[in-house]
Structure formats: structure tokens, C-alpha cells
Symmetry: C2
Subunit: 632 residues, 2 copies
């Protein structure tokens, strides 16, 4: 250990033991008062955290944003009573807040930790995610910040059944993250019974070592051994996983190592007796002195000049190509980092890799870890973009959902959207991605139709809060917009209009090109149609859409290369729902399970081609038989 200020030195056994007693007492108290929560899962890890806090953690509680602070992530988020008890020991919350507000409305001391608390980096509670997030933070420390902070992740043993944990350890080893220490609280009991491996820490050890990390097995209640293990981790040249054999409910004899006590306050009498036996309520304050080295500079965030690519009108360019071009241009901003799921030659993150190799991280085919890394990098102030096929973001949907709970700013690009991809078939077609990403809290969903807008929206994403998603198309289509055009998030574009328009054709991505073709054919029939580019799917331009609907006789065709549920069509209906006017609406979407074929064949088979849009417009126009209907 490096030199610490004197007051932080304390005998490991006595000081940490006293802290452990307080953490147990407080975990029992706050859950008893709340009437819910996970005291037994906190009690098993109390000794581990007491030693970490007393002897190894470096953290300036007055400045949670200080760049060289360590990071402590509770991947077992249900042990929040223990985490908040640590915060009390750090002096940043007081006893009253802990005991009286835990799990109550309005309190930042939620059932599972979220970054509403400034000392919490990421929301946890969906198991197997805190560790992947921590890998992202450690990656930032090792490869970008070049700071000495350490990342400490507390895992439960149940969550080691999640594949994402093994994706995370694999990437931790790959990137040599010796600044990462994982502490596994092997208390052998899950929610509904014994875990798969129980106290078989040797099997865990073999797995951890096979995945390239150092494994240290300890008795998690032997403070000296725990202290030694943490010291080994600090000196390790690899990520370290401390496999700590513990007893669930440790400190409350009535529930120790018993099934049936997960997620329940301990019985009142047993709790009171345990509190007495542990020495009653105390108010120890523990120093976690910041690292002696001065904080290095935070990543520069001053805007740099980004020169976006320019495309000639009419030139055929895929939006995924424009995304890659824009991403490479955005690399001029030193905080921009890119993650790839081994498909960079398809998504065109390869362009960034070539230009800025030091800020490009290959996650191979592990989409969950890719999002975890993005979240972790965002914790350190970076601006992560991650890309894979639109279909494969479904693999990481829980991580994306949790990124929103973390209020992390991450940017995802999904290429190869829809049946337009053609021959590869339905397994590779993103057809649910708009629904899934729209439903993420606070998300932005963008779906450009041409290269100019794709590049502009990619650039815009760098400054968007929350989870933002860009959907790109495999094939090359004509550039529709000149380089001067702007594409505000929440906006739309009218691409074709006249005062006589009788129907509105709305699309985004590939279907916008089909709308334009259909409009031309309708015009040739003497039926002028307006075309709107809904590149901003969420937020959608409700005002622009309403106005266009009004101007076109309230006849609207929406065409999308997506299943009908939750995508563009329903977004449009929701936007128009305050209209209080009758709407003639045709929704063209992919309704049958597609197969392989050419893009054109598959769009026709799905009923989202120019022919289909034209036919739908004609239906709305009363089979072009009723002249009254043609009046806007």
C-alpha cells in the first residue's frame, strides 16, 4: 500500500472489525425499518467491504468526480443496505437518512443502487451487469485516463451463472486490466435456494483462471486473509477475482446459512439481539484517503473542429458508410471512443479504428459486454459509440435498459436493419429494434435515409444525453440532402410537396426512398402526394407531422421496414393521437416472417415497396374513384 495519511492507518483486525459490526448493525436496521430489502445478502459481504473500506479504497468523498478516485461497484445491487451503510461510514449520509429513508419514495437510497447518489457510478440490480460496467471503467483507467485508480466490484455468487460475467472476465484479461478487482461473495444461497455450485470455490477458481484472471480463494470472514487477498489484487499484473467463502446472514445466528431469508428483513427479535451482540448502534467514520498522486487531467472535452463528410446529391451511399465516415471524423474529439462487436467491416466502425486505433476497443462477439463497456467508459466522461447489426442489439437489451436506469450517455448504431438486407435471412434482420429502443427510458431513436442525414445525426449523437440509437441500412441509396442541411433531433423533413397534395407518405430509412418513388408515380396519375422523412423516430416531430397530415386531407401512409408493433407506424399514431380528427391511415410494415431473397424482392413480399405505398395511397384516395375524397 502506498503511504496514507496517518489517521487512516488503523489495525486491520480491530478497525475493520468494528466497521464490519457497524455495517451489519446498519444493514439490519435500515431493512427492518423499511420492511423490505436484503439484509442477509449484506451481512455475508460486510467483512469484505469493511476491510476494503478501511484499508484499500481511495476515495475523496467530498469530490466524487475527482478523476483519481477509486470506483466501487456493487454488481450484487441487492446488497444496497451494505453499500449505504458504507456511505454512512464515509460520512456522506447520516444515520437518520439511512434508517428512515431507505426504500422510501423520493429518497436516493433506492432498493437497488442508482447514480441518483453521486458515489454510485452505475445502476445495478439486474445481476451480471455491474462487473461488465466495471470492466468499462477499468478499461478507461488503463487505456485512456492513465490514472492509478482501481475498480472494485462486489459480485454475488448467483450472478456467476450469467454468461455476461464470463464475457466480462474474458475482456478484463484481454485488456490486461490489473486495476480491476472482483470480490465474489460466495454465500452459497441464492434467492430461491442453494446456488448451482454452492461453496465449491475451487470450481469457480478453475473457471476464473481459465478466463485469464488471477483467482484468490479466501474465507470471507477472516479479516486478515481478506486484507491479504486485497493486497495481492493491488499488486497483481492481471485482473483479480477474490473468491470469498462467506455465510449468508452472518451475524444473525437465527438466519445464518439458512434458506428462506433472501430479500427479507430479519425477524425483529433476532435483529435486536444481533444488534446488541454486535455492540449496538455506532457512528464510526472511516477515512479512505485519496491517492497521493495529484489528479491527472480529465479527458479533454472542449469541442474540436469536426469536419463531417460531404456527399453529392444523388450519389448512392449507404447510411452505414456515412455513419463510419462521420465516426472517423468525430474522432477529432478526444473523448469519443468506439466499441465493436467484431463486425466493424459491416458497421464501418473500421473507419474509426483506422483513424484512431487507441480509442477503438474490440469486444468480439459479446454484445452484452460491449454495452457494459460503453456504460463504464461513460462513467469516466468518455463519449462511447458502439455498433453491431440492429438485430444483435436485442442480445444486450437488458444492458441497454439498465444503461437508461444508470442515466448513462451511450450511443448505439444498429446496421443491417430490416428485410432490406436480403439474402442473409431473418436471423440477421433487425425487425424489432425500433420497438425495443423506443421503449427504453429517455432514449433517442434516429433512422436516417441518406448519407448526409446519417452523418449529421451521428455527429448529433455525440452530444445527446441518455441512450441514443441510430438505425442504418445495408444498401446504398441516393443522397437526398445537400451538405448544408441540418437535422435537429425531434425534427422531420418534407421532401416533396405542393399545395394540392392529397395524401402524406411517411417513411424513414429505406422506405423513404420507396415513398419518393411512389409519390412520383402518384403525381404521374395526377394525384400529388407529400413525402415526409421521419428521421427522428423518438422524439418524433408531432407538430410537423400534424401539420403535414392536415395539409394532405388527413390521408396518411406510413411504411416501415420493421414489424408493425412499436415501430414507426405506432410512433406516428401516438404523435397524432391528440389530433381529434378522423384520419385515413394505412400502415405498411413487415407482417410475415421473411426469408432470403434480394432486397427488392423482400420489400415487395413484405408489402413495403413503392408499389405497395402507391396502392395504399390509392386506397386512401377511395380507389381513386371518389373525386370528393381527392380534395385535401
Amino acid at each position: 500500500m502506498s503511504a496514507l495519511p496517518e489517521e487512516a492507518f488503523r489495525p486491520a483486525l480491530e478497525g475493520a472489525a468494528a466497521l464490519a459490526r457497524q455495517l451489519r448493525v446498519d444493514s439490519i436496521r435500515c431493512t427492518a425499518r423499511a420492511g423490505s430489502g436484503h439484509p442477509t445478502s449484506s451481512l455475508s459481504a460486510a467483512d469484505l467491504m469493511a476491510v476494503l473500506f478501511s484499508r484499500h479504497l481511495h476515495y475523496d468523498w467530498s469530490r466524487p468526480g475527482r478523476p483519481d478516485n477509486d470506483h466501487l461497484i456493487f454488481s450484487k445491487g441487492h446488497a444496497s443496505p451494505l453499500l449505504y451503510s458504507l456511505f454512512k461510514a464515509a460520512g456522506v449520509i447520516d444515520d437518520r437518512e439511512l434508517v428512515e429513508t431507505y426504500r422510501t419514495i423520493g429518497s436516493p437510497l433506492q432498493g437497488h443502487p442508482t447514480p441518483k447518489l453521486p458515489w454510485v457510478d452505475v445502476a445495478t440490480g439486474s445481476l451480471g451487469q455491474g462487473l461488465p460496467d466495471g470492466v468499462g471503467v477499468a478499461l478507461a483507467g488503463k487505456r485512456l485516463d492513465h490514472l492509478d485508480y482501481r475498480v472494485w466490484v462486489l459480485c454475488g455468487d448467483s450472478e456467476l451463472a450469467e454468461g455476461s460475467v464470463w464475457e466480462a472476465l474474458d475482456k478484463a484479461a484481454l485488456y490486461g486490466l490489473d486495476n480491476l478487482t472482483v470480490i465474489v461473495d460466495v454465500n452459497r444461497l441464492g434467492q430461491s435456494g442453494p446456488t448451482e455450485l454452492g461453496w465449491d470455490v475451487e470450481t469457480y477458481r478453475r473457471r476464473v483462471e481459465a478466463f485469464g484472471c488471477r483467482a484468490v480463494v479466501v474465507d470471507g470472514h477472516d479479516l486478515r486473509r481478506v486484507d491479504d487477498a486485497l493486497s495481492i489484487a493491488e499488486r497483481s499484473d492481471r485482473p483479480t477475482v477474490i473468491l470469498a467463502k462467506t455465510v449468508k446472514g452472518k451475524g444473525v445466528p437465527e438466519v445464518e446459512d439458512q434458506e428462506g431469508w433472501h430479500g427479507k428483513p430479519v425477524p425483529r427479535e433476532a435483529g435486536e439481539a444481533a444488534i446488541d451482540a454486535l455492540g449496538g448502534v455506532t457512528d464510526l467514520r472511516v477515512a479512505t484517503p485519496p491517492r497521493p498522486s495529484g489528479p491527472a487531467a480529465a479527458p479533454e472535452s472542449a469541442p474540436r473542429t469536426v469536419t463531417l463528410p460531404k456527399y453529392e446529391l444523388g450519389m448512392k451511399v449507404a447510411t452505414r458508410t456515412a455513419f463510419g465516415d462521420a465516426l472517423a471524423a468525430l474522432g477529432a474529439r478526444p473523448e469519443v471512443v468506439v466499441l465493436d462487436g467484431e463486425v466493424g467491416n459491416s458497421t464501418f466502425t473500421d473507419n474509426f479504428k483506422e483513424a484512431w486505433p487507441d480509442r477503438f476497443f474490440q469486444m468480439y462477439i459479446s454484445e452484452q459486454q460491449m454495452v457494459g463497456a460503453a456504460v463504464g467508459l461513460s462513467v469516466r466522461g468518455y463519449v462511447p459509440f458502439a455498433a453491431t447489426f440492429a438485430a444483435f442489439w436485442t442480445r444486450a437489451y437488458d444492458f441497454i435498459r439498465m444503461a437508461a436506469v444508470s442515466q448513462a450517455d451511450i450511443r448505439l448504431c444498429g446496421s443491417h436493419a430490416g428485410v432490406e438486407i436480403g439474402q442473409d435471412g431473418p436471423s440477421q434482420m433487425g425487425l424489432e429494434d425500433l420497438a425495443a429502443l423506443r421503449a427504453v427510458h429517455g432514449s433517442t431513436v434516429l433512422y436516417p435515409s441518406d448519407a448526409t442525414s446519417a452523418a449529421a445525426l451521428t455527429a448529433a449523437m455525440a452530444d445527446l444525453p441518455g441512450v441514443s440509437y441510430l438505425r442504418t441500412t445495408r444498401g446504398a441509396y441516393p443522397v437526398l440532402y445537400g451538405p448544408g442541411e441540418t437535422f435537429p433531433v425531434g425534427g422531420s423533413k418534407i421532401l416533396r410537396e405542393s399545395a394540392q397534395d392529397q395524401v402524406l407518405l411517411a417513411g424513414a430509412g429505406v422506405t423513404l426512398h420507396a415513398c419518393l418513388e411512389a409519390a412520383q408515380r402518384l403525381a404521374d396519375r395526377g394525384l400529388p402526394a407529400r413525402v415526409i422523412d421521419l428521421y427522428s423516430v423518438k422524439p418524433i416531430d408531432a407538430a410537423g407531422l400534424s401539420s403535414a397530415v392536415h395539409a394532405t386531407g388527413r390521408r396518411l401512409v406510413v411504411a416501415e421496414d420493421h414489424y408493425p408493433e412499436g415501430g414507426l407506424g405506432e410512433a406516428v399514431l401516438a404523435a397524432l393521437s391528440p389530433l381529434y380528427e378522423p384520419l385515413r391511415f394505412e400502415h405498411l410494415a413487415v407482417r410475415d416472417l421473411p426469408g432470403s431473397g434480394t432486397p427488392k424482392e423482400l420489400m415487395e413480399a413484405a408489402g413495403i415497396s413503392a408499389d405497395d405505398i402507391e396502392a395504399a395511397a390509392l386506397r386512401l384516395l377511395g380507389d381513386h374513384g371518389d373525386p370528393r375524397l381527392r380534395q385535401p
Copy 2:
């Protein structure tokens, strides 16, 4: 090996070598003709599959449904040219179909395999899924069918980066699936470059062994060694993973072991030269004699008497409880099996476990493997139900999406939906699940409000095709329906009505109870409201809804415990979109990120409580100030 019909005996080296040559030739030819596809990924595995097919696979091609047939799953679905070339060698497709229709519209020979072909069990193409599915098939064989068939899964090396692969191997070992053989084609090259571990088969070996499986390392082009390895697997008392070191593009010198050839036909001249060198086009037929043992009986599927639980009107029962009760009752049908994600005491799959322990499978906290196992069990004709918290189905969304491409019949239950769960906070709240599950192709989404309907819909799911999803609520609410009531999928229920109704209140699950309370208050104000139970979210009862909307002055409040996008509100708008009438619509949904609190507080904070529904109805009724608006 057991005795095979004489014609199937052939020298391993010569017969399999000739087959391997044909498989290579055909893989080159069909992709060349299609102009796309993955020949190089097929060439690396051709020797492996040739030996398997010639010497180890038992399959009656005339009866793909024969219970004792082996199962061959290409987890590396992009090697479909190789799979279809095997089908040619089996004599079930002809050369013309293979070469002329591969990847063309209407052909079952899609870019990635799907069960449109009777010899394909599951759709693959999203990597890391075929193996989890195969674990499900092997689980059926070992624990339920008690048949000798073997499950052979061909994996790529890139996909070993997916955590789901490790979830699968862990469960394979846990359940002692010695009938499962995984063959990993370690060709060291992924789509965009070298894989993370390249040809480091020793690291793979350590991982496989640490996860409880037997590992056998071989040169994947040495037919004798491959044959030996497959024999070892057949005799193994554990699941076996054959780690076969191979060369991508093997057989076409110009592309062998070269980057840049993933997913591309080989150049014409190189392909033609390779075909010549391999002996040209042949039409070998390979026998894969069925196992000598007579087929055992398939699982009984005759309907048994299922006596559903009954609940008294007004009694407070959680829908999750009713799900568990009904599931236990459904166990009377011997084909019903249940999978748990270590939360059976919350979802109440525990009820089934107690009643039918032999058909209950604990998957621990690995939701991806849980869906994979469900899909695999469905392949063998079982009726799987799997349950976890609604929020955690997001973890397996890619698997659910692919189950739909597989056209598998699986049943999912998501408990603890929405902010109603209260204190545990947002990480545990399913708030995106309706959007995600609605967007799955061919899915059914059910959301009962009371115990009677929950039990009835659980029972109905047993006979539904495709992916069906039941959303249940944590808290106990009054039983609304008597035991005689029926709940057709696609139906709805009017719970309160009069000829004077001026507004329609629509809910499902917990919000239906809030609608009923709001309707009572509105009635007390002299403003009669109709209440509709939209328990069938997909398909939704468009006719019933339209009729109720017409009868209530086209004033509609929809309240849902879900984010606004893609859930009940948008389903209602889509259902009413053909209406062509002005609709006064209020959509109450969870718009802010929730925290912890009591269920009541959180529903109020989200604006989906009875108070909010009443207020929304009053807004629709013109601030209850305009008497004209009160006329229906």
C-alpha cells in the same frame, strides 16, 4: 459404435474424405451461384461434418420426426452451405435445388438455417444460440424421452465469446448431458479479423473443462483423429466439446487462412480450380442408419383433465400466484415442462416444482439459456413454460426473437411488472416488456388483471403456437371474474357498463383495478364510465374496443404500468386506426424514471392511479364543464 446396416460401413478415411470433397465442392458452387454466403466458414468444417455424417450420425431422412433420430444443429448458422450440402449427400435435396435456389426467394435454403426445412430443428444465425438450444434438446433426451439419440452441435470459434455459450456448457454439465457433443470449428478467423484466441485451443480446453465438460483437441482436417474424437464423445460420461483446429477456406488455396474472405464467395477462377482439384461435381449418397433400437413412444400429448384453480370473487390474489397454481394444475399434462431462473419463489413456478419435480428444470440465473432450453424442449414436442421477472426477459430478448424465427412454441411468464412492484426500484420493474414481446413475430401477449383470468390464460398458453407471454403482477388484487368465465385469446371483457356511458376506461393488469375505482368515482359524479379489460394485448380485441369506443362518445383513457412506447396504449391506437373518426384519447403511462416507494405511491407518481384516470376522463369530458360533450 453400434451395428450399422452394411452399406453404411465405409472406410473412414476414404468414404469420409470423398464426402468431404463433395461438401467442399458443393459449398463453393452454391455460394458462387448465389453471389453471397459463407463458403470459407463451410470449408473449414467440411472434414468434421463428413466424418460425423459418414460414421456417427443416426438419422432416418424419410422420417425427420422419428423420435430416436439424432439432432444436428449448426450453431454457426452461416455455414449453411455446408449444412445444405450435407442434405444433398443425404438425398433429401437435389443438386439443382442446392445450387440454383440457395438464398433465393421462396427457397427453404435460406442464408441461415431455419426449420422451414424439416431436418432443421432451430433457426440459427445469431451466434451462441444453437448450443443453448441443443442443450434443451439433449435435456429432453436425457431426462424426459429416455431415448438414445445424440445431439451434435457445430459451433464456430468466434461465438465462444458469447456468454450464452458458457451458460450452455455449464447447464450441460449440471444435467449430465453425455448425449451432447459440441464440435467447435476453430478456424481462428472471424468476420472482421482474427478471433480473440486464434488457434489457442489449450485456453479453450481449460475453459471447457472448468465448465464441467470433456474437452478433446484435434486437428480438424485429420479424419482419423476426428473420428476418434467423435467416438470418445459417444462413450463419454459427460458432455464433450471437440476443439478442432481448422483452416478457414480449406480446399481453396487462394483464400485458405486469409483475412477478408468471411461471408464472400470465393473468386471464380480459384473456385473452379478448387472444384477441379477436389475431383469435380459428385453425387455421393451417404447412409446415416437409424439407431437399431425401435423408437420409444413420443411424449404423450393426449389432453388430460386439467382442473384449474378457482378463486372467490373479491378475494385478493396475485396474478403471479394464479399463474403458479394453474401451472401446477397443467402438470397433469405430461408434456408440460417448466424452467426457472432461480426466482421460482417469486414467479411461483415453485408450485409446479413441488408437484412435478421431474419436469422442472432449474436454469439458475441464466435467462438466455432458459429460453434456449425452452426452444430445445419444444423441438422434442414438450410444452415449455419459463418464468422470471418481466424485467429480466430483456436479458434473453435475442433468444426470444430467434425462437420466433424458429417458429418454436414456447411460453414465457414475466412477473413483477411495472412500478407496482414498489420498493425494489427500477432495475426490477418490467417497463419495456410489452413493447419487446409485442414486436416478436407471431407472438401472443397476455396481461391478466385477476386470478381467474390469469389461471385461464396460463392454461390457454399451453395450446398456443409461437412465443406467448403472460405478464403478471406482484401484489394481490381482488378477483374480478367467477370460475365459469372464459377468456379467449384476442378477446376483452367489459367490466362495467351502462347505456349512458360517456367515456371508456381501458386497462390491463394492475391498472384495470385503478380504472374500476376511477369509474366508480366518475359514477358518483354522475358521469358513467365503461371499463374494458384488455387482457389480450396481442392480438387485441379491435372489434370489441371499437364498439366500446363508439358507445362511449369516442372518449378513451388507456392506463398502463409500462413506458408509453410500444405498450397497451399504442396497441389500442393501432387497433383503432381504421376507425376514421375523431377520438379523444388520453394515454396514461410511466413517463419518468421511477424510483423506490410503495406501489400506491409509485403508481401515483407515474400518473397511472385511479386519481389520474379519473382526472383524464374529466379532461376528455371537457373539464366536466361542457354538457354537450357529455352526450355519448
